[in-house]
């Protein structure tokens, strides 16, 4: 078999069989096939796509390119959840605890933030002492004991994805649905959970720009899951504006704590309860979403969820006093309001623009090796559909030092304020399975 012939095959819109896909992934991981052949193939895939069967075969070849996490020593159904990434998305920090408080087994491997999107690991590390590195045995023990652990992906998990993603990033082949789907699903499958819930986001702050694309991506991943015998479902949710109000690492942890006290933003609460009820049904712990929803809402309001978060923080070496008293979190040096120059209804609030500003403030990273400042970020006072009077604050900026006029301008440009009343956007469009 020659790689050049396989590239030609895909260029001519042919379909790969299992051996051919295995040859490509093995050859690439073992450095027998060079980057320049793989990038040409990736571009051909961007144009001609992959069939459902090819996508599943690619995902499996990638999944088995490295270590497979065996969670069979954890009792019960292991539920996993993955968000395609957005701005202000602290769902896992709320969802993990409430699902675990209702009996779910959440053994989650998470990632770091890049560009305008944040990452769960970075958020957790704003709690002093919190350790995202755990040996496998410890990880399993923790989930068996408290039902919840969130750790970093090990370097040996899906090495094929690491190589492919790095190559896609520099060859303009990131935005290709079968490649995105196989990248996400290979990691989820290798992580060993029994069920997978995907939160596929669409809109200006997300990977997928349109609802339609998000649905295609979701369906592609559900198909892969089915092919691999895993109960896989997906929420399709709006990321035209940030989720909740806080953007920035410790700011988002604080917002998650508020939410676990029943005092969080309603959109975040709603997403966590809806996604959580699907997960509990997937885990076969509840018969239907309604009963699961009620149970989740109960633990959200009675402190059981918050207790679960504290248990996890303690088990992973974090300082629990920060969860108990949010005033312990170190404050940013500079806190200033961005005030509205207009009176009217907020029509747009560009999630991506806010994510970029949060990154520029030091809360995110452009490249993988940058350090981040956990204190900085933004907290929104007004979101789409809200009425604002000229002079009222739109948001508060938490910064290391003086905020440039340029950045204020950039932030203000993220808002569009109009005279006519604007409807609040629907957050969850659909739940697919």
């Amino acid at each position: 078999m020659r790689m050049v012939d396989l590239i030609e095959l895909k260029k001519n819109n042919g379909e790969f069989n299992k051996e051919q896909i295995q040859f490509i992934i093995d050859g690439y991981v073992n450095e027998k096939i060079p980057d320049y052949q793989v990038s040409a193939l990736l571009m051909a895939i961007c144009f001609n796509g992959l069939t459902a069967k090819e996508t599943a075969l690619l995902t499996q070849a990638m999944e088995y390119s490295g270590d497979i996490i065996d969670l069979s020593m954890i009792e019960g159904v292991k539920v996993d959840k993955h968000s395609t990434g957005g701005v202000g998305d602290k769902t896992s920090l709320v969802l993990g605890p409430i699902v675990a408080a209702c009996g779910g087994k959440v053994a989650k491997m998470s990632g770091r933030g890049l560009g305008h999107t944040g990452g769960t690991l970075d958020k957790l590390e704003s709690i002093p002492g919190f350790n995202i590195y755990k040996e496998k045995d410890e990880f399993i023990k923790q989930v068996n004991e408290i039902g919840l652990a969130i750790i970093g992906q090990t370097a040996s998990l899906v090495p094929a994805d690491k190589k492919l993603y790095a190559l896609r990033d520099v060859t303009a082949t990131v935005s290709c649905i079968p490649l995105i789907a196989s990248s996400i699903m290979s990691k989820k499958l290798a992580s060993g959970a029994d069920t997978i819930l995907l939160d596929v986001k669409y809109g200006k702050g997300a990977f997928m720009q349109t609802k339609e694309d998000a649905k295609v991506l979701a369906k592609t991943m559900i198909e892969i899951g089915k092919h691999c015998g895993k109960d896989t479902r997906a929420t399709i949710s709006n990321m035209n504006q940030p989720l909740g109000n806080a953007i920035g690492n410790s700011l988002e942890v604080i917002e998650a704590i508020h939410t676990l006290k029943g005092k969080g933003p309603k959109d975040l609460e709603e997403l966590c309860l809806k996604a959580g009820s699907t997960m509990l049904v997937q885990a076969k712990l509840y018969e239907n979403e309604d009963s699961a929803y009620k149970a989740l809402k109960e633990v959200m309001y009675n402190g059981q969820g918050l207790k679960k978060l504290k248990e996890m923080v303690k088990a992973q070496g974090g300082n629990v006093s920060y969860i108990e008293n949010i005033d312990n979190f170190e404050k940013a040096n500079v806190m200033i309001d961005l005030t509205s120059k207009q009176t009217g209804y907020i029509k747009t609030l560009e999630a991506k623009a806010l994510g970029v500003v949060a990154m520029k403030l030091g809360g995110g990273r452009m490249t993988k090796d940058e350090d981040i400042d956990h204190r900085v970020g933004l907290v929104l006072n007004k979101k789409i559909g809200d009425y604002v009077v000229s002079g009222e604050p739109l948001l508060k900026i938490y910064a290391r030092d003086k905020v440039s006029d340029e950045l204020l301008e950039e932030l203000y440009h993220a808002y569009e304020i109009v005279d006519e009343k604007v409807d609040r956007p629907v957050l969850i469009e659909e739940i697919l399975k």
Copy 2:
């Protein structure tokens, strides 16, 4: 400027400007842009193409990536000719001498053969002593003195094409019209001639499979020529069967000598006279093709053309006695006939299959570094439209040693013999300008 953004631009069917194309070519030649980004771009170009303007800009950027040959010290209009390659294509060996004998200035840089197609340099080197390496001054002196020189391309000619071609070869991005056009034209333009005649071949033995594709390629190259102010024309010729009868290096030189005595195969003679008359009109030496055709036919039949070939061979160190007496050429060890098992008309005669066999016999090379045997090859007795009786020889094989039954089978499969009369194919479809 970032290469990844330029790949994205072409992926989204955008158009490059001059600076962007210059950035790509400079970056690639200077090794600032890696192979894997260029191969992704090449694949995107295979799908989305290049506009006429982009193709011309790419060609010029490639042309100026290395040395430009200055032929201004040669008096008169310098005419050049290029064939897109085929099987049995010894046109240059006949065309160069007859055009020079009619006053044309032919300062030609040629290439070697690869795969099933032969190369003019390999053919010339079957004449003992013939030297394809000449210093620039010597090259110019020779053309000024005798009107004709055929040498190898220097390593410093269009280095961008060398790198790009090598990459295209292993990434399934060879068959893309704007890339083929810019590759050919950048070398022709850098070689410094005033006019260019392209022989664009189509059919089973050619790069372009269909007449339509050949015409698109020809028009693309003519457009580039116009953009660069060079009189560029193209013949569209049939390569479903080999040109002439001989395939193999010394066998083709011998056939060229026959043709320069007015005793060559009629298809080869016709292509040389038609292409030659276009070149002489391009050189403004004749007012129209008809008068040029007559003059060329005269020098083909009166020995002036053959004399010109001898002058070139002598000027380039070759042993002229081989031209004077073809029996001097060393014979292949084994000569056997492939006889027909059927009676009927020859309907197809797969040029590519014959080219591949000639290569396997040792007359061509699979990779650039292989040695070749100048003696071996094939000489056809029967071509498309000919009537053959069972037991009659279809062709003669010239081999180093015993020919395997497998190879004989392979050769026989190149023929299709039918009962119904078959028309002889038209060789030159059109001459475009």
